[in-house]
């Protein structure tokens, strides 16, 4: 597989860890998992889910009700 930019932008003392395709796939998989979790708890329209996380939603200033 091809290599993406091989140096991180801020990597002065952490030089040249390759941001390989495999790593990018892992990163996006992790981000998708995060979106799925936050979306499920904070944005689900299912009434029981809303009620369970009610105080959390208000406290995080998510759109609620």
């Amino acid at each position: 597989m091809s290599m993406l930019p091989t140096k991180f932008a801020g990597g002065a003392n952490d030089a040249a860890i390759a941001l390989t395709t495999a790593r990018v796939i892992s990163i996006f998989a992790a981000a998708l998992l995060g979106i799925f979790i936050v979306g499920g708890v904070g944005f689900s329209h299912i009434e029981a889910v809303h009620n369970a996380a009610h105080d959390y939603r208000h406290s995080m200033s998510f759109p609620c009700h």
Binding site: G10, G11, R23, G34, N51, Y56, H58, S59
Partner: protein, 242 residues
């Protein structure tokens, strides 16, 4: 695969710690204010929850409005221990979710080097997920009027996404065009404007709402700083080695 596993591991540890810390902060600050607001909500009855749609209003109430509310509402945790337990769970689970997003974003730019850099990544998360959407849709208490839920959620997500891209452009691009694009991304959601309710009439006293806004902003700030700091701390131990 080790890399993915290590990201999840660091997110789980940092998210759990920040989620627990957030729970303590919420129980001391925001939750008592929510409970106070619910007293006003009960006193006001269903109309206070009107979202510009009478039919939806009763279904949206919190079960105190009228008889038969339990069937309309569906299941809800009982007040006291059960309710707190679900808040703890929600805090930890979403803490891990936000940690995954934060770590994923930071890995694209070289990863968080240490806890101090993590604090700044946390502040970025605070700006993206609290400040930017909160300008248009301030924290709200129960019994406060609001526009329909779905458009508000869409605006919220779009505004957070714009802010995240804008911060990325500001920090990692050097051209004037990138800076101008970033500023446009920060401003445009507010020019479009968040969905607002038809009327702002509410039984909630302004002082109570003000206290709540301050409590939400401060507790989420603590959450994000703790989350970023912990992610930086544990990333050095797990992701670096892989």
């Amino acid at each position: 695969m080790d890399y993915f596993r290590n990201i999840v591991l660091v997110a789980a540890i940092a998210g759990a710690i920040a989620g627990l810390g957030m729970t303590v902060a919420q129980q001391l600050t925001t939750v008592p204010l929510i409970l106070k607001a619910e007293v006003y909500e009960q006193g006001a009855g269903a109309p206070a929850h009107d979202h510009g749609d009478q039919a939806a209003a009763s279904a949206h109430s919190h079960g105190e409005a009228a008889s038969g509310a339990a069937e309309e509402e569906g299941w809800a945790p009982a007040d006291g221990f059960e309710r707190t337990a679900f808040s703890v769970a929600a805090n930890i689970v979403t803490g891990i979710g936000f940690a995954l997003l934060l770590i994923a974003a930071s890995e694209l730019f070289g990863g968080i080097k240490d806890w101090r850099q993590g604090v700044f990544w946390g502040l970025a998360g605070f700006a993206v997920f609290t400040l930017a959407p909160g300008l248009g849709l301030p924290p709200e208490l129960p019994a406060m009027p609001a526009a329909e839920l779905a458009p508000r959620q869409l605006w919220w997500v779009a505004t957070a996404l714009c802010a995240a891209i804008a911060l990325g452009l500001l920090v990692y691009q050097r051209s004037l065009v990138a800076v101008l694009a970033a500023i446009a991304l920060l401003v445009v959601p507010h020019l479009i404007g968040a969905p607002q309710p038809a009327s702002f009439a509410t039984p909630i006293p302004e002082g109570l709402h003000h206290s709540f806004v301050v409590a939400v902003v401060v507790t989420t700030l603590l959450f994000w700083v703790l989350l970023g700091g912990m992610a930086g701390l544990f990333r050095g131990r797990f992701v670096h080695a892989s």
